[in-house]
């Protein structure tokens, strides 16, 4: 059989899952580092979209600054934004859940070697 599986798994990756690695004596420092990194990436992602949005609108001759400040969202829009906001919170703080107190992260000296069972 070919190694190629035509079914595309949605989730894949042993290395990027599980408890991962810890590099500091207190794993909370690792978790905080990951959180800060995710926050900074999220901030940039939003900023980048804002830049693109303003450019697109400007090219169409629309100045939206005043309208944005005055905008009143409806219920559906509020709900949609809440879902996205919750996802962002989960993404930022997932490091803490990956390495709870009873998990033992791999040491930086533990070599990676995948166990093949299939």
């Amino acid at each position: 059989m070919s190694d190629l599986k035509t079914e595309i798994p949605k989730e894949l990756g042993i290395e990027i899952g599980g408890p991962g690695r810890a590099y500091f004596d207190d794993v909370i420092v690792d978790n905080l580092f990951d959180a800060v990194l995710e926050v900074s990436a999220a901030v940039w992602t939003i900023r980048d979209r804002q830049i693109v949005l303003e450019k697109v609108l400007s090219e169409k001759g629309i100045d939206v600054s005043a309208d944005i400040e005055a905008y009143v969202p409806d219920e559906a829009s509020l709900e949609e934004r809440k879902t996205e906001r919750d996802e962002m919170v989960a993404r930022i703080f997932k490091g803490f859940m990956r390495r709870p107190n009873n998990a033992t992260p791999k040491s930086p000296d533990a070599p990676s070697l995948r166990e093949i069972n299939d």
Binding site: M1, S2, D3, L4, K5, T6, E7, I8, P9, K10, L12, G13, I14, E15, I16, G20, R21, Y23, F24, D30, F33, D34, L37, E38, S40, A41, A42, W44, T45, D48, R49, V52, P108, D109, A110, P111, S112, L113, R114, I116
Partner: protein, 357 residues
């Protein structure tokens, strides 16, 4: 929805993914270009101080000692944390992004199989050896076990290269340096060709030659063939083993390899070297760009710290054995005559030209 390409680089499926991954790329650039040099020299000084104070042998460097001194530096730990985190973030989001359009992307690969120019050759009965099924560089499913591995590898390694290879600039530079053999140049092998970035340059540079890209990983080869056919480049991509290619003896004029050997188990490396010697004709050249070697303890302490970290934290399970091996000796034992290859823009790589007499 496909968002097209930037040049030859596929775009992630949403702007949010693209912005996030570009941020990760910038963070990686900071880690590699600014943060590592910021502790490499002070760490080396500390290590030399420790050596003279502890009375350790001045003529050799013990890796465990290097590591224990470097790890005392807070910035070294931040760097270790940062490199691992950005690599995980990069693969997680890259794959997530392309899986969103996964069925269409896979259909495109299937449809491209029948298209030319070029060919995709594989045997459905091929059994991938377990040594090749590691999640090298932490890539989910590795090179072999993700049907979308090709496009994920392409975008992911663009982040790894900090963006300076987004139009295959690095592969172009190296493939341009292929050692031309005396006499004919009609058949060229790119061994461990991955997604064919160098193979396509080799063909463009040598339009009269047959260029074959051989790799163990079918998902990468499928993507390579799709890209080559879209760009009108006639390369044959074939699934196979570098240690047992099945090609006829003396049938190639030149072989090219880029960072293949450090991803092979140490017992496979001499088999590959011998196989390349067998399939090259007398006078044929083997151009090799590869990780450095440390068998004579010739690498500086900071570089050994980096390679050790990379091996254990970036899923390079075989690289330490390669780095500590006498690779040049293996090439000589196979019968090659060696000379230093050309200097490249990547000072980390060693550059070797091996010629079959």
């Amino acid at each position: 929805m496909s968002r097209g390409n930037l040049g030859i680089l596929p775009r992630p499926s949403t702007l949010a993914d693209e912005s996030y991954l570009q941020y990760v790329q910038s963070f990686r650039k900071l880690l590699i270009q600014d943060m590592f040099p910021a502790f490499a020299d002070p760490g080396t000084e500390k290590y030399q101080e420790w050596k003279s104070e502890s009375g350790a042998d001045e003529n050799t460097d013990n890796l465990d000692d290097i590591k224990s001194v470097f790890r005392e530096m807070p910035l070294a730990r931040v760097w270790q944390r940062g490199v691992r985190s950005q690599q995980e973030m990069m693969w997680r989001r890259t794959r997530q992004s392309f899986v969103r359009d996964g069925e269409k992307l896979y259909q495109d690969l299937e449809e491209a199989e029948a298209r030319g120019p070029g060919k995709l050759l594989y045997n459905p009965e091929f059994v991938t050896p377990n040594y090749a099924r590691q999640e090298i560089h932490l890539q989910p499913g590795g090179y072999t076990d993700d049907p979308l591995g090709g496009i994920v590898f392409h975008y992911g390694t663009n982040v790894f290269y900090e963006g300076y290879n987004d139009q295959d600039e690095h592969h172009t530079e190296l493939a341009d340096l292929l050692a031309k053999p005396e006499g004919k140049l009609e058949k060229i092998l790119d061994i461990g060709c991955s997604i064919g970035q160098a193979s396509m340059v080799l063909k463009r540079n040598n339009p009269e030659a047959d260029v074959i890209g051989l790799d163990v990983a079918l998902p990468l080869l499928r993507y390579a063939h799709k890209c080559a056919s879209e760009r009108g480049v006639d390369v044959t991509f074939q699934q196979g083993l570098a240690e047992e290619t099945g090609y006829e003896a003396d049938s190639f004029d030149a072989v090219f390899s880029y960072i293949l050997f450090h991803e092979l188990p140490i017992d496979i490396i001499p088999r590959v070297v011998n196989e390349m010697h067998r399939i090259l004709r007398p006078g044929g050249t083997f151009t090799i760009f590869e990780f450095p070697n440390n068998y004579a303890v010739q690498l500086p302490p900071a570089q050994r710290f980096l390679i050790d970290y990379d091996s254990k934290n970036n899923c390079e399970p075989y690289s330490i054995d390669f780095v500590e091996s006498n690779f040049l000796g293996m090439l000589r034992d196979a019968g090659f005559e060696l000379e230093d290859g050309p200097t490249t823009s990547n000072p980390f790589l060693q550059s070797i030209i091996a010629t079959k007499p």
